[in-house]
Amino acid sequence: MLRIACLVLLLLYLSVAALATERFPSPEFSQGYQFPQITTPQPRDQVLSYIDIGVLFAALALAAYLVLKKRSRRDLVVLVIFSLLYFGFYRHGCICSIGAIQNVALALWNDNYVLPVTAGAFFLLPLLFALFFGRVFCAGVCPLGMAQEVVLLRPVKVPLWLDNALGTVPYFYLGVAVLFAATESAFIICQYDPFVLFFRMGGSVGMLIFGVAMLLLATVVGRPYCRYLCPYGVLLRLLSPFAKWQVKISPEDCHACHLCADACPYGAIKPPTPEVGTVSRQEGKTRLAVLLALLPILVLAGAGLVRLGSPLLAQVHPEVRLADRLWLEEQGRVEGRTEATEAFFIHGLPNMDAYREAAAIRKRFDTGSWILGAWIGLVLGLRIICMSVRRHSQEYQADPAACMACARCYALCPVEHARVQALAGGQTPVHEHADASIDTERPQ
């Protein structure tokens, strides 16, 4: 019955559509009039997007070399500016690795979307590099990071408690962004990208205020977006502790002079741990056991709580909002139509279609919100556990998870200084300082 009704409706619709194009027959011109050509300017060539991937790879490799091998902040700044100009202003900040998370999520959970090669490469390459060299993507490639890097004037230390609390936000942001992308609701990372409107030279007033506020904040707080919002940073943060080559501040024995920790604008340098802890081993063990037992409870509680909020989350999807509004209109509980319901009526489909589609989307949100809740619970639990686990370190170390590999600390390390001096005074002029000094001292 329903099928027949649909068929009749389809036929009706087709006949109306056909009528629309036959209202006035195309004239038969007598004087050999030719239709003007319809121009169809083509989009950016595919080859150029392969070049983008090549540039990304080269920039990542160069960043790794400059940070880990050459240990030169000055050279890295050149790369920072290049990346800002290329990936930011020339490519308009699109596609970026951060936004590519959503394309990957969409492709993973929707068979009808095929992940473009560029999006896939931008998502995977920085992660691959993180597994070997740490967060070199953050160091000199990411246009969002670079925008904040160049405005940093006088960084203040963020209190540890605040840093820890805000540091949890990116994990939630990542979870929510993946949920919305996987359900085809919205690409919130792109919608709330604070700097993309500077790259495009245009955007809404709200985003301009957000962007300017972020840039102002970035003058005194080192990279606020990267540390307290960036969802891609979460993935890099999880992978970079396992990097094969990591940032090592002092080339030899650390003097524990604290200079590097003062210089780090991102609070990523952890001081040596005292020999004797504040809590006894037994106490620590008990605490860890309690926290580990708490973890499943947190995961379940999170899953349950977010699942309760699933209907609210589903409202982000335009189809769900449309169906809700249609229902209210059908019941006569609201007056008038919105633009969306108006558009729906123009197409003349039965309300039932919208309801059915919205129900399917809601179901996906129900599943998704379980997972999101469990993720939030897991993140909270694991972060508390990580905070209570004692580290062992005799020297100042860059926390590989938080270190943006900006190379600022090297220049301040007295041990590094001695190394560079030795290189400069030595026989083999391998460092740029050495080259410069020889050039100036050479008699003409």
Partner: protein, 186 residues
């Protein structure tokens, strides 16, 4: 390299393991992407069948003026003298004076072809993509005017800002190799 075999610490071993697992995951993802067939890049386009000419295309685009422009498919056009894509509903008379025109920016140029036919050409440099003329043509005419995203202007944002606000979900991803959704082939 020293000759005696150095024992790997537990931490180092675990790190190696996790890195291996990470590489495998990335490799798996890469394989998944490749195996999904030719991963073609996509661009945004307006589906004329879904478009309701809500005028949001003119303002929601991140570009100003918008990347959306009116496109005239001449093969469908009736070449009417009394064109409702061109002439406003309320107008003093039927001349080509600005106050008679529907287009807010006078972006449609009319020229006489032969009695009684007139040709209408969109001046893209003036068109703001509001779709007011498209609505007139769709309602009273043959529907030869449609809105399309022009790819010499569109910067192909990962998420189209117009798609975010489009009430009829008319902005869709299309293969970059076939970037226009015209009603006629050509």
């Amino acid at each position: 390299m020293s000759d005696e075999p150095r024992k790997m610490t537990r931490r180092e071993f675990l790190t190696e393991c996790v890195r291996g697992a990470g590489l495998l995951t990335i490799g798996g993802l890469l394989g998944g992407v490749v195996s999904r067939g030719r991963a073609q890049s996509t661009v945004w386009q307006i589906d004329p069948d879904k478009c309701t000419q809500c005028e949001k295309c003119a303002t929601a685009c991140v570009l100003n003026p918008s990347a959306v422009k009116c496109v005239h498919e001449y093969a469908i056009c009736g070449y009417c003298e009394l064109c409702f894509g061109y002439l406003a509903d309320q107008r003093p008379d039927d001349t080509e004076a600005a106050e008679n025109q529907r287009c807010p920016t006078n972006a449609i140029r009319r020229s006489f072809v032969e009695d009684p036919y007139y040709q209408y050409v969109i001046d893209e440099s003036k068109c703001i993509g509001c779709g007011v003329c498209v609505k007139g043509c769709q309602t009273f005419g043959n529907g030869s005017l449609i809105l399309q995203i022009r790819h010499d202007r569109c910067i192909n944002c990962n998420q189209c800002a117009i798609a975010d606000v489009c009430p009829s979900d008319a902005i869709v991803r299309v293969p970059a190799a076939k970037p226009y959704l015209l009603q006629t082939k050509g």
